[in-house]
């Protein structure tokens, strides 16, 4: 049963600390998305990749957030320095990128709390 995995599932940290979230997309999927979900803003697209290349990161605060795909099996989202307003659930999703089948498969999310 192929699924997207994310680590850690929960993270509590103090303001100013670096946070790294990891995502393993479904094997064979070539598009990867990072979303942030909060009560106030709902589901926001932060960045997405196709074939490991960043296609759009306009939703991401550039000064503190960075997203990378070091290889096809790993996507990372880093926040440095973290702030309390970054507290949210961060979801990773992957898709096959086939134009006729663009369903996204979501991971379980990382619940981040910045104190």
């Amino acid at each position: 049963d192929a699924r997207v995995t994310q680590t850690p599932r929960h993270k509590v940290t103090e303001m100013g600390q670096e946070v790294t979230m990891r995502c393993q997309p479904i094997l064979g999927h070539n598009t990867v998305f990072w979303y942030r979900q909060t009560m106030m803003q709902g589901l926001e697209l932060l960045a997405y990749f196709r074939n490991r290349a960043p296609l759009d990161d306009s939703g991401m605060p550039k000064d503190r957030f960075s997203a990378e795909m070091p290889d096809a099996t790993l996507a990372t989202l880093k926040i440095q320095p973290s702030e309390p307003r970054d507290s949210a659930v961060y979801f990773c999703a992957s898709g096959s990128g086939d134009s006729s089948y663009n369903e996204q498969f979501f991971g379980p999310g990382t619940r981040l709390t910045v104190l």
Binding site: T31, F33, G42, L43, L45, Y48, R50, L55, D56, F91, A93, G95, G97, S100, N102, E103, Q104, F105, F106, G107, P108, G109
Partner: protein
């Protein structure tokens, strides 16, 4: 760019009531549309999708949605809801290529 609006932010129904959640997207042409569901404490899962063909799409768990091109709408329906349908429902549209735009979501609470 596309945008998606969901008319109701919160819906409360009793079990066995019928459900219809509204969704409108911003512009026409070829559209790919989705409904996702997020059960409490879980991640989003696909309920159904429309790409072409029959505008009435059947999904999992008895859900269906109707694509009405002239109204730019893709409303979600279920004839009889159950307590287990309590969740948040997201309408989404593919915005060219691979970017999916999600609506703000509708929280459904079904009273047992």
């Amino acid at each position: 760019a596309q945008s998606v609006s969901q008319h109701n932010h919160h819906v409360i129904l009793s079990e066995a009531a019928s459900l219809e959640l509204g969704c409108n997207y911003s512009y026409g042409g070829t559209v790919n549309l989705f409904w996702y569901v997020q059960y409490p404490g879980q991640h989003l899962q696909l309920l159904l999708k429309y790409f072409s063909g029959d505008p009435l799409v059947k999904g999992i768990k008895g859900f269906e949605a109707e694509f009405i091109k002239s109204k730019f709408s893709f409303n979600l329906r279920k004839p009889s809801v159950q307590w287990s349908d309590t969740a948040e429902y997201f309408c989404a549209v593919l915005d060219g290529g691979f970017k999916t735009i999600f609506g703000a979501g509708t929280r459904l609470f079904v009273k047992a």
